[in-house]
Amino acid sequence: MKTPLSWLQLTHEKVRLLVAIAGICFADFLMFMQLGFRDALFDSAVILNEAIDGEIFLLSPQSDALIAMKSFSSRPLYAALGVEGVKSVTPIYLDFAIWKNPVNRKTRSILVLGFNPSKNIFNLPGINEENLAKIKLQDVVIFDELSRPEFGPIPELFQAGKTVKTEVGDRAVEVQGLFSLGTSFAADSNIFTSDLNFLRIFPQREKGIIDIGVIKLAPDADLEAVLNTLREKIAAGDVIVLSKEEYIEREKKYWQNGTAIGFIFALGTGMGFVVGTVIVYQILYTDVADHLPEYATLKAMGYTNNYLLGVVFQEAIILALIGFIPGFALSVFFYLNAASATGLPMIMTVSRAGTVLILTVGMCAISGSVAVGKLRAADPADIF
């Protein structure tokens, strides 16, 4: 093996190397956090959509996301019952109301979801026969135990056996059960109740004017065929027919494109990238500038320009790799903390780690290619 000049050059000056690693680590951390929050937003935004047990969804064409729902008549939903392959249909009412914290009386906006409790249509922990039976009672709701603390210590009070009474909108309600959904950028807390209770909380809402129509298919039904039939038969101007996949995609797309959130996080990631590029450039440039006579000597000895370019690029790649490791570790640690602090589902995924690693290498490669411009100054004829 030939003398590994790039490695020796980098490791010779320990302080500079540490600064470089810290810089890259910081840049990687920034990118990881931005991408992590962005993905957590998109993941959390569709937890509810994913939890609904159905294959086909009816929506108003003007409904883009859970926070921007337009109600529609449930008539086409019931019409769908006549299509072959459809097993059952369930209307869902959804709206936001003001929740009063029963302890300190402060108010916050909460997502209220109403459905017919005779049938369980959610795959969520806590939505079970027992809780469904409870919400059949008048003015009884079940509360999301993963809510933000500002909504009050409801789970603690409930588990301590106390009766939790508060107001939602102008209606007095009682919490008689807990379930787990989690916060999203749309809602910091959720309550589920029966369709009848929903209409009590929102007296201005009409029965039969729903927000989501859920269609469950028979086990042997062909999804594509039913989708096509439904689109032909009932998709008029006031309702669209989506598969579950399309429904989730529509929700994600809203957050990605319809709001500034996707852009903001992309911008944050970009800033991490730029900061990293500048730091690595600074390190590589100083390295080249400090060793100019030595590099010129190598050229005088007969080393080619490409060899020296290679040395600088190797340094860039080495920096990228060794800077990535602490950046990754730090981010995993902060993901765990951020997840518990925000209630957002933040986990390190292989694809995100891969993305950031590629960005890091790209970052260092860009810095390297700018820094090698200085190598042209390493002309032995000018130095001696």
């Binding site: 093996m1 030939k2 003398t3 000049l5 020796l8 050059q9 490791t11 010779h12 000056e13 060793h291 006579p293 030595e294 010129a296 000597t297 190598l298 050229k299 005088a300 000895m301 007969g302 080393y303 080619t304 032995p380 004829a381 001696f384």
Partner: protein, 249 residues
């Protein structure tokens, strides 16, 4: 290559080919109105195994001539033959080839700070193809021993004295058995004793390897190591000055 050329080369070898043959060389710096002539009608021949010292005041063009001979700078006009290769109008690739047959020693030692003495010397061997790492290492150690630094092989340049650094530079320049050594003010940064030692060492080792040495200097104390002294003044060469007349022998 024509037969004539090969024949010519053979005859040259027999009679000792000139390592460097310069004819009517002119060199200019700058463009347009700022164009300034640095070297005027230089004629110089260096024979194999010769030790030649080039003297001259600052700004006389010594270093320029040295960099032209070493293929570090493109020769412009006239003829500059190094190892029989014409360097006037030569391509970068040819220049790099010539450089690999030349050992350089500079005023500043220019050792790589991040490499030990042995690794610095080894960088020079690694330019040659087909040398195994073990062999390269052995040769480097042997060369460092020859310059009297066998107990300093794993030292970094920072930990070496000026004279020791210059000796590492000599080992680096000579380890690949170059055909010519070009030394630019090798003693300038050294005290008289270590300067003298360094030059004598250089001369001794180069003689053993049969290589030509050109030393650019204005250090009068080392003139006696030369077989021949040339003097450059205002870009014009005065050839043929005898060593004896300079050093008063």
């Amino acid at each position: 290559m024509t037969n004539d050329y090969l024949l010519c080369k053979k005859i040259m070898k027999k009679n000792g080919i000139p390592v460097v043959e310069i004819r009517n060389l002119n060199h200019f710096f700058g463009e347009g109105n700022l164009r300034k002539q640095i070297l005027f009608e230089i004629n110089l021949t260096l024979k194999s195994g010769e030790v030649v010292i080039m003297k001259g005041p600052s700004g006389s063009g010594k270093t320029t001539l040295l960099t032209l001979m070493g293929g570090l700078r493109a020769s412009q006009s006239g003829s500059m033959r190094v190892f029989g290769e014409e360097l006037v109008g030569a391509k970068q690739q040819q220049l790099i080839k010539v450089r690999r047959n030349i050992g350089y020693i500079f005023q500043a030692h220019n050792l790589l700070e991040c490499l030990t003495a042995r690794q610095n010397v080894q960088m020079s061997i690694e330019l040659q193809n087909g040398i195994s790492p073990t062999e390269a290492k052995a040769k480097s150690l042997q060369m460092l021993a020859a310059v009297g630094l066998e107990d300093r092989v794993n030292y970094y340049p920072q930990k070496l004295s000026g004279g020791q650094k210059q000796r590492v530079a000599i080992a680096r320049a000579l380890v690949s058995h170059p055909r010519m050594v070009l030394a630019d003010e090798p003693t300038a940064a050294l005290d008289s004793k270590s300067g003298r030692d360094v030059v004598e060492l250089m001369q001794k080792l180069a003689k053993e390897q049969g290589c030509t040495i050109l030393i650019v200097t204005h250090d009068n104390r080392i003139l006696d190591v030369a077989d021949r002294i040339v003097e450059l003044e205002d870009g014009r060469l005065r050839e043929g000055s005898l060593v004896d007349s300079f050093i008063g022998r």
